[in-house]
């Protein structure tokens, strides 16, 4: 159907609109399901995670340990980086919260860079110990493994942070401020039991204290412990040196009394204990010791559930991934108030007599049922005609299946650029996940190349001389005129003559979390919108390779006067790096008025000169909008919307555009099957299969188009 005003060629050729504003609380940074007002590190989550990966070579996921005690689900191949949701307040020293988090993440990354967990010379003694992490096999050789672990971690933190200052001089000032901040909150040694006091002295030495106020009776132990720790500041110190120092310090701790008593203290400087480190005993002591408290350092330690005392194992990669959230409490679609629960109550449209097709199956060739009963149109007011008010607004009619007529000027489609996401991490990961599909897809599409080659004349380069052009050039030469240098012929493969538009449903329901993948329980929560993007992203790579023209659009709506069309890539545009950032930037937004979107994209496709025009509509359910049939009553809205959608699809076919509808809703009753030709409708039972399924569908659609072109050429 014609619009009231023709769309200009090359949408956005001269404009760079900002696109639709995402709904409050949504945005490309916010992980799915993350509450608004989360941890202070949320705005920098991606940046910090990437920084961790750069330094450590490992994937890391930030977890706010103090607000999600059961933990955010961490993929099994990523390290959990437990951090407080708010950094320590620092009114005096000027260390910004963002810098504090950088120091904390860098500290964790450098443990891996410097091999803290690569214990040398470790040989599992037996089958029982073979499966334990190397560090825990080492500490198990002590009489009190937990104490040995705490000593090791404190000394290794010292070695790592010293190396951090050497390797990362640009971060030295932030490190210094973070350590200085810690020193203001330390417990006094004179109030601690002797063993705890030695532990605290070592911690303070490790965060750069010049000295401590220590009881005199601690001097002999300090005189031996401090040199052992100082040796780890040497740039040549490895984790082996830390192991030796751990054995030495463990013995020193055992040599101190356990009882608690206040003692007077004196200020000592650590550089008073200047001797060389002693030779370590050959093997760890088997003598046991009671608990010794190592008070935490905020940027290093995860303060676990043990009342503020550090839980060192939580900082190691030895712990298992956090238990997944209980599905019954998950804020997903299966909850008591979840949208799927509400939609299941609308499982069958009123009056429909045909059973729903089996999940995932293409519907059999059935005659289209009457959508009804329909309410008589008497008494319904005539809606006003809409008029475009801006350069990228287009008005389309709508089919009123109740009245049996078109409503002219009924829908206003507003076209805008999709917003740019900051990064395309998710799409990159998706492309890597589906990379195995791409070679076969490209090969299948290449086999569908139109047969034969065309000779192109008057080229600047080519295999043969264009005789006509050469004769003209010779004449020009002999006449003293500068000849045209296009005197060759070349052969080119016949142009692929297909234009395809992908329309992605951006209604709010596409933001609902899909059920967890039983094959990959640790995977990030996935939504329908994510799967739609992944599927299109995969296909783009193949289309670029074989040269099909394509456009990518997202559609949603908030009433007939606000049908939103987000342009990722227009049909006539070349793909750029921004294409993928716009695809990543598509944001779920309200409702699904499919009819108007189909009409707009049909018009775009008919403006191309491609011999074959294909429209793919990816949706997660039925069409629905605020005023999409509700003028006749809520119970008529479904059949009304389906009727208009079906009519729009018919209009597309009459315009030589072949529409394909792909729905990824496993629970619903395949509403769209009622308004589609059977071979054009496909239901994907498991949304995660969409990338592969869409690739197959495209090959089939492409093959059909090639056959159609060939048949036309033969006539």
């Amino acid at each position: 159907m014609r619009t009231d005003r023709p769309a200009p060629e090359g949408l956005f050729a001269h404009s760079h609109g900002a696109g639709h504003r995402p709904p409050d609380g949504a945005g490309p940074h916010r992980p799915p399901g993350a509450p608004a007002g989360g941890a202070d590190f949320e705005p920098d989550r991606a940046r910090l995670s990437l920084g961790y990966r750069i330094l450590s070579g490992r994937a890391g996921q930030l977890v706010a340990f103090d607000t999600s005690p059961t933990g955010r689900a961490v993929p099994p191949d990523a390290d959990a980086l437990y951090l407080p949701s708010h950094p320590p307040a620092d009114p005096h020293h000027g260390l910004a919260g963002r810098e504090w988090y950088r120091v904390a993440v860098v500290h964790r990354a450098l443990h891996h860079l410097l091999g803290s967990f690569a214990i040398p010379g470790d040989e599992p003694a037996d089958d029982e110990t073979r499966h334990r992490p190397p560090l825990l096999r080492f500490t198990a050789r002590f009489g009190s493994p937990a104490l040995a672990l705490k000593i090791f971690l404190t000394l290794e933190d010292l070695r790592v942070d010293a190396a951090a200052r050497r390797l990362l001089p640009g971060l030295a000032e932030s490190y210094r401020l973070a350590c200085h901040q810690e020193l203001h909150e330390r417990p006094p040694l004179t109030m601690l039991p002797a063993r705890d006091a030695l532990a605290e002295a070592l911690v303070q030495f490790s965060i750069g204290a010049d000295g401590v106020v220590a009881p005199r009776d601690l001097d002999p132990a300090l005189a031996r412990a401090v040199p052992a720790a100082r040796a780890l500041l040497d740039p040549r110190a490895t984790v082996g040196a830390t192991l030796a120092a751990t054995i030495r310090v463990y013995d020193l701790v055992l040599g101190l009394p356990e009882r608690a008593a206040y003692r007077s203290g004196r200020a000592v400087r650590f550089d008073e204990f200047a001797g060389d480190a002693e030779q370590a005993p050959g093997s760890p002591s088997r003598a046991a010791a009671g608990p010794v408290t190592f008070y935490p350092v905020a940027f290093r330690d995860f303060v676990g559930e043990s009342g503020g005392a550090p839980d060192p194992e939580s900082r190691l990669p030895v712990t298992q991934p956090v238990e997944w959230l209980d599905a019954s409490t998950a804020p997903g679609p299966d909850g008591p108030d979840g949208p799927r629960r509400r939609r299941s109550q609308l499982r069958h449209p009123p009056g429909a007599t045909e059973p729903a097709p089996a999940e995932g199956a293409r519907p059999a060739a059935v005659s289209r049922p009457v959508i009804g009963p329909l309410v008589p149109a008497a008494g319904v007011a005539v809606a006003r005609r809409l008029v475009p008010t801006g350069p990228h607004e287009y008005v389309y009619p709508e089919w009123d299946g109740v009245a049996g007529r078109y409503l002219d000027g009924h829908c206003l489609v507003k076209v805008a650029r999709a917003p740019l996401a900051r990064s395309q991490h998710r799409l990159r990961a998706a492309r890597a996940r589906h990379a195995g599909l791409l070679p076969d897809l490209v090969a299948a599409l290449e086999r569908l190349q139109p047969a034969g080659r065309d000779v192109v004349r008057r080229q600047r380069h080519g295999a043969d001389v264009d005789l006509d052009a050469a004769i003209e050039a010779m004449i020009d030469l002999r006449s003293g005129v500068v000849p045209d240098d296009r005197v060759y012929t070349d052969t080119q493969q016949r142009r692929r003559d297909v234009a395809v538009a992908f329309a992605l449903d951006l209604s709010a329901s596409t933001a609902e979390a899909l059920p967890p993948d039983p094959a990959d329980p640790g995977a990030d929560v996935t939504r329908a919108i994510d799967v739609e993007r992944e599927a299109v992203s995969l296909l783009i790579q193949a289309l670029e390779r074989v040269g099909d023209a394509y456009g990518i659009y997202g559609f949603s709506g908030a009433g007939r006067d606000d049908v939103r069309l987000s342009v990722v890539k227009d049909l006539t545009e070349r793909r750029t790096t921004r294409t993928m950032l716009r695809l990543e930037g598509l944001t779920p937004d309200r409702n699904t008025r499919i009819g108007a979107a189909v009409r707009f994209l049909t018009e775009q496709l008919t403006r191309t000169d491609a011999a074959s025009k294909v429209l793919f509509v990816l949706s997660d359910g039925r069409p629905y909008d605020l005023d999409y049939g509700q003028q006749y009553g809520e119970e008529v809205s479904i059949p009304y919307a389906l009727a208009d959608t079906g009519r729009a699809l018919d209009e597309a076919r009459r315009s030589n555009v072949t529409p394909y509808l792909v729905t990824i809703d496993a629970d619903e009753a395949d509403y769209l099957s009622y308004v589609s030709d059977p071979h054009e409708y496909h239901a994907i039972g498991d949304a995660r299969e969409l990338p592969g399924a869409l690739a197959e569908l495209y090959v089939a659609a492409r093959a059909s188009a090639v056959r159609g072109v060939a048949a036309g050429n033969l006539r």
């Binding site: 750069i54 860079l113 640009g170 991490h425 070679p439 043969d464 070349d490």
Partner: protein, 272 residues
């Protein structure tokens, strides 16, 4: 490219020099695989210089002919074409034909970019026949005994959508290239850029760390070449952080989060 007086700078990473010489001795075509900017082209230049030196002036004036392949390249671009002049038409040999006739090394860089109907002309050259059919002349040129074909490509970038046909791939012996170790890369960066060795070591450390993002598919590289550019800018007085911003952060990715993370690490390794 005519023979240079002094050897092009190249620091071997493994046994690639010995392997190439052995392949050359048998005139086995060579395929170089590796990421961008890791030294493939410099290696070929070095080997061509070395082989030319060993021939002691008895080789061609141009011991190495390099062609950068692209998907608009036709067979004529390699083999040759007729040109028009006031006297009529004349045949001009393409770089491949010149190398075949004179006994030079012909180096096809990024060979997977070329169309498959172009690369198929290499088949007769790269098996026991060692001949180049030239349809336009109606002749077949037998390869000079010293002719060698060398090709290269970047498997990481192109592997998913483009690849050599098996019938083409299996006519070559392959040498895998990667980025050098940080110690060796520091030497290379210091030599090529003229920057202070300490700065070169820092750049090599930074490059080595950033390649963790390459391994995760987030960025490509950075290449040794890029680190040399940063060093060159620093050597010209640009503050290190600014040089990294220009020649590294902005060059390597448009992804804002990745840029921020790279910038953070670059600022951490340099304090100015």
């Amino acid at each position: 490219m005519p023979i240079a007086e002094s050897a092009p700078y190249y620091r071997p990473v493994g046994d690639e020099v010995q392997l190439f010489l052995a392949a050359y001795a048998q005139r086995i075509p060579v395929l170089l695989k590796g990421p961008t900017g890791c030294g493939k082209t410099r290696f070929v230049e070095y080997m061509a210089w070395r082989i030319a030196r060993e021939r002691d002036g008895n080789g061609p004036d141009e011991p190495l002919l390099t062609v950068t392949c692209h998907d608009d390249m036709t067979a004529s671009d390699l083999v040759g074409r007729y040109l028009l002049s006031t006297d009529g038409t004349s045949w001009l040999d393409g770089p491949l034909t010149r190398a075949v006739r004179t006994g030079a090394i012909c180096y096809l860089d990024e060979v997977v970019e070329a169309r498959k109907d172009t690369t198929v002309i290499l088949h007769a050259l790269t098996d026991h026949r060692r001949m180049l059919p030239i349809e336009r002349l109606g002749t077949t040129v037998r390869a000079h005994p010293d002719f060698l074909l060398v090709v290269s490509y970047n498997p990481g970038y192109q592997a998913v959508a483009k690849d050599l046909k098996p019938s083409t791939r299996q006519r070559f012996t392959a040498l895998e290239f990667g980025y050098p170790s940080p110690e060796l890369e520091a030497e290379i960066v210091a030599h090529e850029s003229g920057v202070d060795p300490e700065v070169a070591r820092t750049l090599a450390f930074l490059g080595d760390r950033l390649r963790n993002l390459d391994g995760a598919g987030i960025i490509d590289g950075p290449s040794t070449r890029l680190l040399v550019y940063v060093g060159q800018l620093i050597g010209r007085g640009i503050p290190p952080r600014r040089a990294c911003e220009s020649a590294l952060v902005s060059a390597i990715t448009d992804d804002v989060d990745a840029q921020d993370a790279i910038r953070d690490v670059a600022k951490a390794v340099f304090d100015a």
